[in-house]
């Protein structure tokens, strides 16, 4: 079912690692992985057991180049691909596809997931947001992506950027809330682990009935006496207090027309 003959992966970060593992998990050996830095190149070779190159000669021989580098480095990589005949895609949630318009065929292949080098994740359910500048390449990329995930979504730049921004709230900022909880509990000799069932049920409920309908808690009930006590408890945590206050105000202002729980 492989739609692309030879595949190059460019980069040595979390996304590049995850994509290489993903390809290999489907029996697809990357033709080469481009890594500029020699030390990192050696590490990638050892970690992933792939062919690592540090010039673009081999990359130019491939049919699909997945540019999995930091957003700021995409343009520089593109300057080396002006003669590329294959399809060049970047993996950025925020950068426009046009960043690669020096190549004839370009697009985006953005896996909507948080990735770390050391974690194995199942791609089955992970949305792969794709874009290409020609209908033929959209079809090709869509077939390619479908090998890895059941959720291949065609997205233009604007939609992908909106998804990326929303992801910062639902993933990064949600993580910060867990981090603050962790800190407050540790300072009281307790462990975040006690929160796991609560967090899981809240997430489940939010996706099932919508976050707005799932919200409970003192701000939601306008319970100012508890809010006051919490603010007093955060006296020695000025940064966390500021966050508590802005989010409490947000709930009070934005949820007032919902039926009171």
């Amino acid at each position: 079912m492989l739609q692309f003959g030879k595949i190059a992966v460019i980069g040595a970060g979390n996304t590049a690692y995850t994509l290489c593992k993903l390809l290999k998990s489907k029996g697809i050996e990357p033709f080469c992985v481009f890594v500029r830095n020699p030390e990192k190149a050696e590490k990638v070779r050892q970690d992933l057991g792939v062919e690592v190159v540090s010039d673009y000669e081999n990359v130019l021989k491939t049919d699909l180049a997945i540019i999995a580098v930091n957003d700021d480095a995409i343009s520089e990589v593109a300057t080396h691909l002006t003669d590329y005949k294959g399809l060049a895609v970047h993996t950025s949630g925020t950068k426009p596809a046009e960043l690669l318009n020096r190549t004839m065929r370009f697009g985006v292949f953005y896996p909507l997931q948080t990735m770390s080098k050391e974690r194995e994740i199942s791609f089955d359910e992970i949305p792969l947001l794709i874009y290409a500048n020609s209908p033929d390449d959209v079809e090709m990329l869509s077939k390619f992506a479908s090998q890895f995930s059941k959720k291949v979504v065609f997205c233009d730049d604007e939609q992908r950027k909106a998804i990326h921004l929303a992801a910062v709230f639902v993933s990064n900022f949600t993580n910060v809330m867990l981090g603050i909880g962790d800190k407050l509990l540790k300072d009281n000799g307790l462990s975040l682990d006690v929160m796991r069932p609560l967090v899981q049920e809240m997430i489940k409920k939010s996706f099932e009935i919508s976050p707005k309908d799932a919200l409970t808690g003192p701000a939601r009930r306008n319970d100012f006496s508890t809010i006051g006590e919490h603010e007093k408890m955060l006296d020695n945590y000025p940064d966390e207090l500021a966050i508590y206050m802005i989010l409490t105000d947000y709930i009070i202002e934005n949820y007032k027309n919902n039926e009171k729980l």
Copy 2:
């Protein structure tokens, strides 16, 4: 295994509903449920099929009274229980046990979970935080709680308050982040559903390796160009922009000593 003969539940809110269902699920019929408001009383009777009373006479005949009312109403309920011979517990995360000290035997029975009338939740894994003012009652309450959950935790007022405050961050405020994501996606013709695998993996990772180590994203990498773009995209969302900025600053300030991802 029932340690208490007759049980009264006081209240008609989410917690009272959930506790009644919980008791019944273990074959324990509440002796009575006290509901002051006649309309609500009728509804509780119909919804739960329990004996509903609106005076304290029957409550005084029980061995355990679970006061599952709003925090502000606990004191008022306590004034009716001065002659109570059983153990009176409230279900508040923030109020001190001493609020019930007009009764001889008092304590706390606080399920650490978000509860709605219409949802069935499995109590097995839910931490039940208990307290009582005598060692005998601690033991009794602990045995009682163990029927419902594997995680019965003895907590004093201070610890319970810290847990409650942490729960606001990890549950209510996390919910707000999902709500903002939902709003941004809807405004771009997209659905929050696309975020489910991302959120689930981030939560899993945070509990496995700690939230701080699990964090990724533009603020974590000090990627000011993406942050700037996000802030521009939030131009028409002043409240959400303020939240974006305070949380981004929090990450930049508090995570700078972690190894850069």
